[in-house]
């Protein structure tokens, strides 16, 4: 088991280093003048030359990469060309907003998705099952930016019950600012007793949260339904029924316990996927998270910020994959031996 974990860890490190080299080279191939951006719009040639030295851009690319990667592991992720702040500082600032949105979206997805999957499987072939399948296919198939716009149109423009964009109402933000603890407003406002801000944060997260939830929700319904249908055909379920156990108990205790494994595996990977899918949703809802930061970085060829976001997302992706692999290996000896 330990040798398996070590093997997987080494593979993960190789993946991260590969991503870092590839992204580093890619950001340098694009024609850009980061030194000029660093100084400002009317920079003189002397100022640009000085900025090149300041940013280390006068060095050969392999020296720049080595300096970057060695500093990276010491916690220095470089300075953003656009914000002039350390990239790590920026990520700490923007990441919690994305994390909050993803947690909220995933919570909604699984809160609705798993029961819907169970019902669908239990009522296989009925109208409820067909409706739930249509619902899940729509969730997976609809583009998130389109769904976001439609939700805005319905709940903001027509019904006027939910805000258009942002994380907080402007006046609430000014008069009842959220004290920074984790950067996740719902949590921070709640623990500091700032209920005005909590209500505002909740009303703002609903639409982007639902948009983000659509894909994992559809996936959760389909996965739960498929695994439940398999399990419901097992002998022990038939035996349970023969013993006269209630259908609810059979479904939620005996069947679901065995069906939930694959669903949770998929949920871990969907969580990582949501880190990227949230980029578009953040643009639609003006949500100041990682996606907002990344899109600005790309537009301004802010290569240290692009590197930072890419490596952070890759790291989370690889980490979640690793955890899933280890968990599966722990449960199934065939995997770790093979």
């Amino acid at each position: 088991m330990i040798s398996y974990i070590i093997r997987r860890l080494l593979l993960a490190i190789i993946v991260i280093i590969g991503v870092s080299i590839f992204t580093f080279l890619l950001t340098r191939v694009v024609p850009s003048e980061p030194a000029a951006r660093w100084v400002g719009p009317h920079a003189t040639t002397e100022q640009i030359a000085a900025a090149r030295i300041e940013l280390g851009l006068d060095k050969p690319i392999y020296v720049q990469y080595w300096k970057y990667i060695t500093s990276f592991f010491k916690g220095d992720w470089g300075l953003s060309i656009r914000t002039h702040q350390p990239v790590l500082h920026d990520l700490v600032l923007y990441f919690p907003a994305s994390l909050e949105l993803i947690i909220f979206g995933m919570f909604i997805a699984f809160l609705i998705g798993i029961p819907l999957g169970i019902i669908s499987a239990a009522r296989d072939g009925t109208a409820i099952d067909h409706l739930s399948r249509i619902f899940s296919i729509a969730g997976v198939a609809l583009p998130s930016f389109w769904l976001g716009l439609i939700l805005q149109l319905v709940f903001f423009k027509e019904l006027k019950i939910l805000p258009l964009s942002g994380r907080l109402d402007m006046m609430t933000d000014l008069l009842h600012p959220v004290k920074h603890i984790t950067g996740m407003y719902l949590f921070d406002a709640l623990v500091t007793g700032n209920f005005a801000a909590w209500v505002s944060a909740l009303s703002h997260i609903v639409l982007p949260g639902l948009t983000l939830a659509a894909y994992p929700l559809g996936l959760a319904v389909r996965m739960t339904r498929a695994t439940m249908l398999e399990i419901l055909k097992e002998d022990y379920i038939r035996t349970s029924r023969a013993y006269g156990l209630s259908e609810t108990k059979i479904l939620t205790v005996y069947a679901l316990r065995n069906a939930i494994g694959p669903v949770l595996t998929v949920s871990a990977l969907t969580f990582a996927y949501s880190l990227v899918s949230t980029f578009l949703i953040e643009s639609v809802f003006d949500w100041p998270g990682l996606g907002y930061y990344a899109s600005k970085a790309i537009m301004t060829v802010d290569y240290p910020a692009i590197m930072g976001v890419t490596l952070l997302v890759s790291f989370i992706y690889v980490l979640l994959n690793l955890l899933v692999d280890i968990a599966q290996a722990f449960l199934d000896p065939r995997i770790r031996i093979g």
Binding site: V30, P31, S32, E33, A36, R37, V39, G40, P41, H42, A43, T44, T45, E46, Q47, I48, A50, R82, T83, H84, Q85, D90, L93, Y94, L164, S165, M170, M171, L174, L175, H176, P177, F195, A196, V199, D286, P288, K296, V301
Partner: protein
Amino acid sequence: MLKNKINLLKLIGISLLLAVLFGTPVLAAQPQVAVYAYTSEVTIFWDPSDTFSNEIIWMNNVYETLLRYNPFKDTFEPVLAESYEKSADGKTWTFHLRKGVKFHTGNEMDAAAVKASIERTINRGKGASYIWDAVSSIETPDKYTVVFHLKYSTSLDLVVAAGYSAFIFDPKFSDHEWFKAGHDSGTGPYMVESHKGNEEIVLTKFPEYWKGWSGKHFDKVLFKEVPEASTRRLMIGAGQADFTEMLPISEINALKGNPNVKIVHTPSFQNLLALFNTQKPPLNNKLVREALAYTIPYQDIVEGVLGGFGRQSRGVVPYGLWGYSDRIKQYTTSIETAKVLLKEAGYAGGGFKLLLVYTSGDENERRVAELWKSELAKLNINLEVRGMPWDSQWDLAKSPDPNKRQDIFLFYWWPDYANPHSFLSAMFETEKEINFNLDYYSNPLFDDLINTAASITGTNRKEAINLYVEAQNVLMEDAPGVAIYDMEYVRAVRASLKGYVDNPAYPHVVFWYDCYRE
């Protein structure tokens, strides 16, 4: 009956709870808050020495300069300096400071602080610090007098009044990292209260501001990035913002009928230029360049692209800035004249292709290019219009081989302070290494004219203007490029906002201390 009573008690209880939770803040006196919805990040730089970008919109409310320039009257308003005088040769400038001014840090503003602020800005060499190039030394003969000794005569009053790199701050609180953490040490009416990344800054009033707080003023100002033009329009229309700008014409038109919004437009010091590649055929031929200048549909562009909020340029210095003059030649749209010039140049019947590059995403530039393309087609000239990211556009323009560069480069320019020199110097003065002279023009006569003009602006403004006018006529003759239009700033302002005066010397700045809501 009992159930009904219980329900009623529940209702009262819930109502009370809600009132306690959410009602209390509503009952408390709310501060007067102004909201500025800005199109981009509200700050890039935090250090008042390094400032060179969007932060101008809030920094001019937090930091002050010695003087403030009024370009419409060509006069200076005293700010931190009450008065000033210059020597006959324009090389020694003495400023007498206002007494009793405090920094937000609590320390007093004095001559030593002014000297240290400016020397720090010069020594850091960042941002627009080069505006202090003429300064050789600064003396402080007494606590409230600052004397600048210059290497050459220049309009130092314009320099000390600049919107960038001329701020006075408390030198005891001037650590770069401290500024970057979102702190300030200015003397202005407002100080930084909080910020969220680069997207949002809240300023709150500085109680000890030297002008005092009697009369109507805002208590706080929120600067917020709202990139979507339609959202900014919705905000101003719904009274959620007091001021916004850079709205497309369609959004301006959508606001025109709204009684709660007024549209303010003033001449800006920003213009759009078409720079010709003077080192590559066929535009290395002066006659072809002149012909092209006659093909630009100036009036169609002003009406169709700017919606009338602008004017055709005359020369290179924009309307309203000193150095602009009716004595400068202005091209008209004349396809017939262009035909004659092309024939004279040996290109009768056109038959050549030109590459025009513009910054992708800039709708105005794209539409200008498309209108121009259709005019050039009449002369059998094929204009390829290519939108490129700015970095790629600039990279192409700096290719070592002039033949690999673009033929026409669309380009905006605005001055670092209210001085015509940068318009002429940056884009047309001989450059050893290409920076912004993207027409690659070099003319010793022109260089001499603008540099002589610069050296006498501090002592003989009238003669300096004459030289700048002469220099611009040289440009019109050689046509290394042509300024197409001078923009107007178009702002959407909440109708109840009073006291706002647009000053193009401080582009996009609202001096919020002067404003109030009726």
